[in-house]
């Protein structure tokens, strides 16, 4: 495996049999945008990405905490889902990747393959289909990944107040619940900044 944990200057470890003589790549960081189908994940990624969102397939582990499972051992199966992503040059040496990942399934998903090392997560919510985001909220909470809940105001208004959403999702007080517009670059930027603020506080900054 290439990802030897040897820390190197610049936050990356390099594997090659020769010194990299070519352009040094930026340090890559990522954030995850999660939420149900059609909630605006790809719209949000595309609104702020400097490239048109690309699609690839990610392997996710489906944990079926089934009622008929008497062994108390979660049954896991690996599923492949389409994942849209974009990126953004932060400065000369830093590039932010944004990965949109589905989370509407009724069973819990484990996005370990995708989420390891993520700065934070933005869970996008459609107030008409609140239960679509439970899996993502559970996942980020369980893994201790900084996140915020963002209600996508599709047509300028939301059907429930943010307090109602917070109550329904039962998230900790430290988890911001905001509204945003996935189509607006500045709005997506601000939503990501809210997540990063949580991450910074968590990191002791």
């Amino acid at each position: 495996m290439v990802s030897a944990p040897s820390p190197a200057p610049g936050g990356q470890s390099v594997t090659a049999t020769e010194a990299p003589g070519r352009a040094a790549p930026p340090l890559p960081v990522k954030m995850v945008v999660a939420g149900g189908f059609g909630v605006g994940k790809t719209t949000a990624v595309g609104a702020i990405s400097e490239i048109r969102p690309l699609t690839t397939e990610a392997a996710i582990t489906e944990v079926a905490a089934g009622v008929d499972d008497l062994s108390h051992t979660p049954h896991k199966t690996t599923t492949t889902v389409a994942m849209d992503f974009g990126c953004l040059t932060i400065d000369d040496g830093l590039k932010l990747y944004l990965f949109g990942t589905p989370g509407q399934e009724r069973f819990g998903f484990m996005w370990d393959d995708l989420v390891q090392g993520a700065l934070g997560g933005l869970v996008i919510v459609d107030t008409r289909r609140l239960d679509d985001c439970y899996a993502a909220v559970d996942y980020f909470e369980h893994r201790g990944i900084p996140f915020a809940v963002a209600v996508n105001a599709f047509d300028g208004h939301v059907e429930h107040t943010l307090d109602e959403v917070r109550w329904a999702l039962d998230v900790a007080e430290s988890v911001p619940v905001i509204t945003f517009d996935a189509r607006e670059r500045g709005s997506v930027r601000d939503a990501l900044l809210v997540v990063l603020d949580v991450a910074l506080t968590r990191a002791g900054g």
Binding site: S3, D190, L200
Partner: protein, 137 residues
């Protein structure tokens, strides 16, 4: 001619992991194994890799050629329409052969205050309407 029994109108489907000779990485690999290289891991062709480009076949050729400029594992998978784990395995092979440099971000980067500050500062420079986000508090 020949056996002639195989239907000729249908190209055989190449299963995704054939190109890696059956090896897998990521979520399909042993649960106890080292975590897979993150999807944002940067891949850069080495000078040696580009020199020997003509000698490489198929996916290996395409990956090295696409990495003349730094690319993430996810970008390579998307651009070349390969499964993420296929890219991971081939990237390891190519790195072992000296054809590719693989830059794996350190695992604790998400808790690096200076990195977080840089991302925040960088995002703040992005123009856009203000005041569209409000906290519930």
């Amino acid at each position: 001619m020949g056996a002639g029994d195989e239907p000729v109108d249908r190209a055989p489907a190449v299963r995704p992991f054939l190109v890696t000779a059956g090896r897998v990485a990521g979520a399909d690999a042993d649960p106890g194994a080292t975590p897979p290289m993150p999807v944002e891991t940067q891949l850069v062709a080495t000078a040696a890799g580009l020199e020997r480009l003509d000698l490489m076949s198929f996916e290996r050729h395409d990956i090295v050629a696409a990495c003349r400029r730094p690319q993430s594992v996810a970008e390579i998978a998307a651009i070349l329409r390969l499964h993420l784990n296929v890219v991971r395995v081939l990237a390891e092979d190519l790195a072992a052969g000296g054809h590719l440099s693989v830059y794996v971000p350190s695992a604790d980067i998400a808790r690096d205050v200076s990195v977080l500050r840089r991302v925040i500062d960088g995002l703040r420079t992005i123009p856009g309407s203000r005041g569209t986000v409000r906290d519930s508090d």
